[in-house]
Symmetry: C2
Subunit: 218 residues, 2 copies
């Protein structure tokens, strides 16, 4: 009867079950410690079927990184209405990011910890996903800056640097809040919004922080 079931279930559905089991196992036990036996058992399939569909532990892990990376970037994009004011867009984006990473802690562990810790090909997969998030945030900041100024005086490089800072801060906070009991996604989003917005907001209004005069000599 098990064999009959296996035959009837479409391959795409089976693969998603295997990926679910793999993300959970890689995320909780780590890439090295995770075994294909364990993943097959959790997915309720035979180990040869996992190899038939996903080829190898490396390919299975790569498929996990791609799926989880895509789900995260899609969640952030879906959370943001680009017709909203800039601070609302940022708040919505941060809430979508922290909600998703809190609801999918194993996926986040695969992306943020496991994929970076086990060799360059996996790290490159994550870097591609991260570049997409940075591009999205860069565009958000650039649009906000254009709205705020008649003549834009936030240089492209400054905007790119701010986007890198914001994404780095979000990654760091997501890892911390998932590892710290009692921190909700909304609290993490509010902490980063507090940290970031008044700073970005002042920049948009042309009020940068100024270095102390006595050090700079001006």
């Amino acid at each position: 009867m098990g064999a009959v079931k296996t035959k009837r279930m479409p391959r795409a559905v089976r693969e998603q079950q295997m990926l679910d089991a793999a993300v959970q196992t890689f995320g909780q036990r780590g890439y090295m410690a995770a075994s294909m036996d364990e993943i097959a058992e959790l997915a309720g399939v035979s180990k040869p079927l996992v190899y038939l569909y996903l080829n190898s532990k490396e390919d299975l892990f790569t498929a996990c990184i791609r799926r989880e990376g895509q789900a995260l970037t899609e969640a952030v994009r879906a959370g943001v209405d680009t017709a909203s004011p800039a601070d609302r867009q940022l708040w919505d984006g941060l809430r979508a990011f922290f909600s998703h990473t809190a609801r999918h802690p194993d996926g986040w562990s695969v992306l943020h910890l496991q994929a970076r810790t086990h060799g360059e090909p996996f790290a490159a997969e994550v870097a591609a996903m991260r570049a997409e998030l940075v591009a999205f945030v860069t565009e958000l900041i650039a649009v906000a800056a254009r709205e705020a100024h008649r003549d834009p005086d936030l240089a492209d490089r400054e905007v790119a640097g701010l986007a890198e800072a914001l994404v780095g801060a979000a990654e760091s906070l997501a890892a911390w809040s998932n590892a710290t009991p009692g921190i909700t996604a909304k609290q993490a989003a509010a902490t980063l919004m507090n940290f970031a917005w008044a700073g970005l907001g002042n920049l948009m209004e042309g009020r940068p922080w100024s270095p102390p005069a006595e050090i700079e000599g001006r």
Copy 2:
């Protein structure tokens, strides 16, 4: 004559030369691609001497992580006068951080990329160094918050979250500015200071960003 030189030079000095060569090689070529032959040649010593002093490629890499991590945390601590006002401390700390990572790009690559990408023991070494930086920043923010308020209303958890966000932002910006031609350490520090201070500064003064009323229902 080479052999005489080798004998005369103190072990501690030789080891530092080997570590200099190893950091350069690991940082520029990556942990996997770096060979012990290459490191020995660059250090001007024989390969057996490298193994005699540092034991294995793994141990040599661990020694690199520890030395570079210690140098970075010491540079940040040394850059900050804890008697200064909070914004000056943060500015000095950020300038020390970005100057150090810009002057030691190979060391930063070892810490930020290589050590995280090649297995849990190395990642754990970097995590310990990072925890020290986070603790330093946490204390800086906590002291500033105590100064700014008669009764401290920034909860410990909020301060811890802000420190995580700031360190994550700094790591991300350092990697970006080292990889982007023409971005100076001072520009990177100013970008993050602009991003962070007005936000933190407003928090210290008890002016948090408020979520839009219509979403929060309050």
